[in-house]
Symmetry: C2
Subunit: 441 residues, 2 copies
């Protein structure tokens, strides 16, 4: 018979135990943080009507989406983000939902992107959103969730760069350039990629003599208060948008003082160069950088939007949210050496001296499992030296060697594989207590 | 603008918080049990080359699979189970894997099945397999994982019905009917659905006068030892297959005696009517029924297979595994009232007395979160009576009412929403201690 090559599609990945244990651990910690703020999980189908997912018919997106006709003749597509399905979910379930509604959704999405840029065609997003509140207090909570979650998973301190889309538009209006907003946003968003000179040149093409003024706006630097004063001035004086940023700043200072966290408010910076390009945001927008590895780029970004579900509902539902890019986060944490590498959750195993005693060995292992220790049982009656080698390959640190005869009656021996040392004879209780003390230290 | 109806594809489902919290809790408990036995997680792509997934070209399966041509012209399909991708995974990574390899995989799969039978087109499988060991000790471990996992998640005691495919084939060989094995298996598998009489009639069509003898085999009843003796006799006397079942039985008795679990071996019964139809099993097969709700059908089934990866590799890799059907399990646990219903993880929330104090309220909530209590913060400065109602709708049991002025200086009040009672004034530490005591009791 011909052998089929066991290949995986380009841009798709297997996660063997070492990678999957790492990912699962990280996701579990992210979830714990989201839950602690009162966000509840939802899930939605991987496959939806194409009409639902592509309603707005975004050009870029449409080319990337996995779309096909199913066996029932339906025009369907794999979800390419978690926001569009969330909008559909909200519209469909509006009557049963209590607003403000706080949900998280951690799941895979699919985009047939060019993989040359180190991007994947199947990847995981971790989204958290609050819909149905227009309060700046909900904006602040999202900022705090990002900061605290990244801290909780060991990513360290972050700097969250914040801007307000509406304030930038107000500024453009004072220049008579509001109708060029999309082109200008697109250009500003590229500045890190194409460089300041190219931006200046292209801006001149769009905005003529006002290019320099636009650059003054987006390049405003200093502490939060200084930048806010400057942007407020450039955009024609105090406005609801500058007021919202001021309210957020007051929350930051109040929270930092109340938490006793020295410099807690330093995590937030007002950065008018952050625009989130062509996204659907209408209020504040933000990108989050790790202080220990800013060069890897934004780990977590989002903003406030009006009219989330406008395609599917006549009701206006606004919200604010953020999305953690799990792959980039993992790349950063791996580079920083902050992810534990292991191939199994079991650090202990019961050796096999007689295959006929496998029932008793499982009973011994059961006692360790009951004590909260994941425990393997070896199946093959092999020389102990060989079992030591197998154990080490599997990430097992201690081998439990039962008595040869009557495995449950006599005392057992613990083999410390790294130290190549055997313990004195121990009862199961003594052995479990010792292993718990060592492994949970 | 036209509104798009926010509908979901037939056979697909949204999981709102109440359902998703239930599912996630269950999956987390299943995972904890799998991990305690030393099984490690893997993940594989949702989308694979159709050639990989449909290699054997199974007729039924091929009709149900979501298959299409991607934008790069590749013939691709959504996975319809977790076993085929696992076989491909093993073949591709054979050199980096230490055998025996124990993996679990909990993920969604897709089949365009007829949904009238209460089946879904997107559903979750929980698979656990041991590959690279032919020892009966590995068969026994899988039986134990099923029993202990279902116990650990609150499904109660189970009865695992075990049979051996090879023993049945050996029996058919003594009748000269081995070449009719597939047809007979298919028929036996249908007996619960079409009834004994129909089976007798159709069996006569295949096996002539030997139909009655076949029924004697598959209807053998009694305790494990009695049935084993009968099947051994009917299949021509002791064989490797009957020996394997005897070894398994010895493990069961040894384990029950050693665990001090009275009647622990009663969880296992030898049932020659279990055949697992047309599956690829070659050794033992099993189905698992809840003692408290056997009528819902098998919750967890599987068996031993040879040559898992034969489509993709010349190496023979045998294994044994099982799969929990999450949807049926949830249906059973819901009917038994063993799943907690909640819409949020947060049972406490900080009320909003002044929107301008949202920074301080988050700092207060942060103290409760640090104490391990998930805590919401309300954003809207509304009358307390209204906040009580919102809290109850969100599943919040206690509302934390901060002091109106200087929210972090004075004492706060706890509102017990069900009892409609306020506490005396408490410090944050006192309040956290009290809530922990009540909520973690």
């Amino acid at each position: 018979m011909n052998i089929i090559e066991p290949r995986v599609l380009k841009g798709f990945r297997d996660f063997p135990p070492s990678a999957e244990i790492e990912r699962r651990g990280l996701i579990e910690n992210i979830e714990a943080s989201f839950r602690s703020f009162g966000f509840a999980p939802i899930d939605t189908p991987a496959l939806e009507y194409a009409e639902i997912l592509l309603g707005k018919g975004g050009g870029e997106t449409e080319k990337q989406v996995y779309r096909f006709t199913d066996n029932g003749g339906r025009d369907v597509a794999l979800r390419f983000d978690l926001t569009v399905p969330f909008a559909r979910f909200i519209a469909a379930r509006r009557s049963e939902i209590t607003l403000p509604f706080k949900r998280y959704h951690i799941a895979k999405v699919w985009r047939g992107e060019n993989t040359q840029r180190g991007r994947y065609r199947e990847f995981t997003q971790c989204d958290v959103d609050i819909v149905g509140s227009n309060s700046p207090a909900s904006d602040f909570e999202i900022l705090l969730v990002m900061r605290d979650t990244l801290k909780a998973i060991g990513a360290g301190d972050v700097t969250i760069h914040i801007n307000h889309r509406g304030l930038f538009n107000r500024f453009l209006a004072t220049l008579g350039l509001l109708d060029k907003s999309v082109d200008i946003l697109r250009l500003v968003d590229k500045s890190a990629k194409i460089g300041r000179d190219a931006v200046v040149e292209r801006l001149a093409g769009i905005a003529g003599g006002k290019a320099e003024k636009i650059l003054q706006f987006i390049e405003a630097k200093g502490d939060f208060e200084e930048v806010l004063a400057r942007l407020t001035g450039l955009s024609g004086g105090p406005s609801p948008e500058s007021g919202r940023l001021a309210a957020l700043r007051a929350y930051m200072l109040q929270h930092a003082a109340a938490s006793g966290a020295a410099g807690g408010a330093d995590a937030f910076t007002l950065d008018p160069s952050i625009t989130r390009g062509l996204d659907y945001y209408t209020g504040i927008v933000y990108e989050t950088f790790l202080n220990d590895m800013p060069e890897i780029g934004s780990i977590c970004s989002g903003g406030r939007y009006d009219n989330l579900a406008s395609l599917y509902s006549k009701e206006n539902i606004s919200g604010v949210g953020t999305s953690i890019g799990l792959d980039r986060l993992i790349a950063a944490l791996e580079a920083l050496g902050r992810l534990e590498q292991r191939v199994s959750y079991a650090r202990i195993a019961v050796a096999c001296l007689k295959e006929a005693d496998a029932g008793a060995y499982q009973a011994i292992a059961g006692r360790f499992r009951d004590a909260g220790l994941a425990c393997e049982v070896f199946f093959a009656e092999e020389k102990l030296a060989k079992q030591y080698m197998t154990a080490e390959k599997k990430g097992v640190q201690w081998l439990i060697i039962p008595p040869l005869d009557n495995p449950l009656r006599g005392n057992l021996t613990l083999r410390n594989l790294a130290a190549r040392e055997n313990s004195e004879p121990l009862s199961i209780e003594e052995a479990a207590a010792r292993l718990k003390a060592v492994l949970e230290a």
